[in-house]
């Protein structure tokens, strides 16, 4: 597009957009180690004051543990159901197969507030108490698609003939899965699970509707916006939240370098 000046303009625009994307994240890091506890720029000096205060805050610690529990629970459920659905759609023909691939993206494609209200109303109607269990169930519904997408992409590129050969040689379904299918899709499943973990760990829009009185890390952060004595800790908590979602995603992207992780909604 264009000659040399066009190229230069393109590079400048690319660099500007990258700067725009990373500047706010860098800002959180800067404020996490800021001496002063206000939003005033520039920072007044380097300090671990707020990191210490965050480590000492028991509410924050508890919220962190709750988030870990919720993310692990949702990831395990999503891993099992997402893999099963992917295997069914990739390896079998049955009525409604097309619909499945459409239905799994539903919870992630519709506005989060609708998902949150729908699940919350249903739990209230059926008498399921809000709290950690409700959060895990809710998160699992929209994490399934992440495992599903990764697993099915891998299954479509591996031939079913190996599994057929295994069955011909007398292996039962479980043996075939364990020795043939699983080694082939293991890294894709792990990538999907890491993405599911990252999404669950910092989901907030749906979680607020499901939490009852339970605080996950994002909910703790959200409620701290209004508490003057905690607002300085938000940057430290935010840094933890960023790291715990970005690191799994980085690992996932190395695991599926040929396909790339699927975008989330």
């Amino acid at each position: 597009m264009g000659g040399r000046p066009g190229r230069v303009a393109l590079r400048v625009a690319t660099a500007a957009v990258l700067l725009f994307m990373y500047f706010p994240l860098a800002l959180i890091v800067a404020y996490a180690f800021n001496e002063s506890g206000t939003s005033a720029w520039p920072p007044s000096g380097l300090s671990l004051r707020w990191v210490d205060a965050a480590l000492a805050n028991s509410g924050l610690r508890q919220a962190f543990i709750t988030s870990l529990a919720a993310a692990i629970g949702a990831t395990v459920i999503a891993l099992i159901l997402g893999t099963l659905a992917a295997m069914a759609v990739a390896r079998h023909r049955f009525f409604g197969r097309e619909i499945i691939s459409f239905v799994v993206i539903f919870p992630i494609a519709l506005p989060g507030i609708v998902t949150g209200m729908a699940l919350s109303t249903t739990f209230a109607t059926t008498g399921v108490p809000l709290g950690l269990f409700a959060i895990i169930v809710g998160h699992a519904t929209f994490c399934i698609v992440l495992v599903y997408n990764n697993a099915i992409a891998r299954l479509r590129r591996t031939a079913a003939s190996l599994e057929e050969a295994s069955a011909d040689l007398g292996a039962d379904t479980w043996q075939t899965f364990r020795h043939i299918t699983l080694p082939g899709i293991r890294s894709a499943m792990l990538a999907g699970a890491l993405l599911a973990f990252a999404l669950s760990f910092d989901e907030v829009i749906v979680t607020i509707f499901l939490a009852g009185g339970v605080q996950t890390l994002p909910i703790w952060i959200f409620q701290s916006f209004r508490l003057a004595n905690q607002v300085a800790l938000v940057n430290v908590a935010g840094l933890v939240a960023i790291l715990l979602s970005v690191v799994p995603v980085y690992v996932a992207s190395r695991l599926t370098r040929d396909t790339g992780p699927t975008g989330r909604t």
Binding site: L10, A13, L27, V114, F225, S245
Partner: protein, 269 residues
């Protein structure tokens, strides 16, 4: 057999929930006790359709979604083009990771960082002060929110456009050049029509996310949007009305998805 688990889960947990929410929109609330009365009525739908407040807020939110979508397209195109057509394979791989990572970094923290940027004594005003300018601030205005949404959803637009551009065979661009098409002509008559499905695919995300968000508006502006409005009616205040209101973004998204499918966006997702 393999399917019974996941499908049962999705159908019961998700579609069932949507149905229950929809059902709730037909109930009403006793104005004195505040209890939900389970007697089917379409009052809530009439209220949502006729009350000028809801119409204003819906139009404002859709307007915001359109503005954010267009801005994201303009910002996303150059970087996507650079990744797909100019960068070496190694740089391209690094850049895909560089775009994907902020996408996953805590949404709440990213939205919150804009409070730091836009606040009175924040970074933006510090940069603008020497020029004698001031940022949009955190008051009633909507420019701040427009910036926040654009920031939050930009990666969702870059990735499909990048994928769409990468799929265009070089031979098409060479043919256009051989036939005398200059840079802009090639862009307008060859590249642009071919990436329309990708643009629409990206806009599904920017649109849906803007319509459903109630946190970012609450953080940076005092003006109401569909999300904040639904939230303020949810729960004790008036669940049936909130349920009826939530059908507005839902209906908009369903219509949008149907149009997007006609335009071929689903193949570009």
């Amino acid at each position: 057999m393999l399917l019974a688990g996941p499908v049962g889960w999705l159908v019961i947990a998700y579609l069932g929930s949507l149905a229950i929410l929809f059902l709730n929109a037909f109930w009403t609330r006793d104005p004195f006790t505040g209890l939900v009365i389970r007697q089917p009525t379409i009052d809530n739908f009439v209220e949502v359709a006729t009350n000028p407040l809801y119409r204003t807020v819906t139009l404002r939110t859709v307007g915001m979604a359109i503005a954010v979508t267009l801005t994201c397209m303009v910002l996303a195109f150059p970087i996507a083009y650079y990744m797909a057509r100019v960068a070496s394979p190694r740089v391209r791989g690094l850049m895909v990771v560089a775009i994907v990572m902020p996408l996953w970094a805590s949404y709440l923290v990213k939205a919150y960082s804009w409070r730091l940027i836009l606040s009175e004594d924040g970074v933006l005003n510090w940069f603008l002060a020497p020029l004698g300018l001031r940022g949009p601030g955190l008051g009633e205005g909507m420019i701040g929110l427009w910036m926040v949404f654009t920031y939050l959803w930009l990666p969702y637009m870059i990735l499909p456009i990048y994928a769409g551009l990468e799929r265009i065979p070089s031979s098409l661009l060479e043919a256009s050049a051989d036939l005398g098409g200059r840079g802009f002509t090639t862009f307008r008559r060859v590249i642009f029509p071919l990436v329309v499905p990708a643009l629409v695919a990206g806009s599904i995300f920017t649109f849906s996310l803007t319509l459903g968000d109630y946190i970012a508006p609450g953080l940076v502006t005092t003006t109401q949007f569909i999300g904040t409005l639904i939230l303020s009616r949810f729960g004790v205040p008036d669940l049936p009305l909130a349920a009826a209101l939530s059908l507005v973004p839902l209906a908009i998204m369903v219509v949008y998805l149907l149009i997007a499918r006609r335009l071929g966006a689903f193949e570009a997702l």
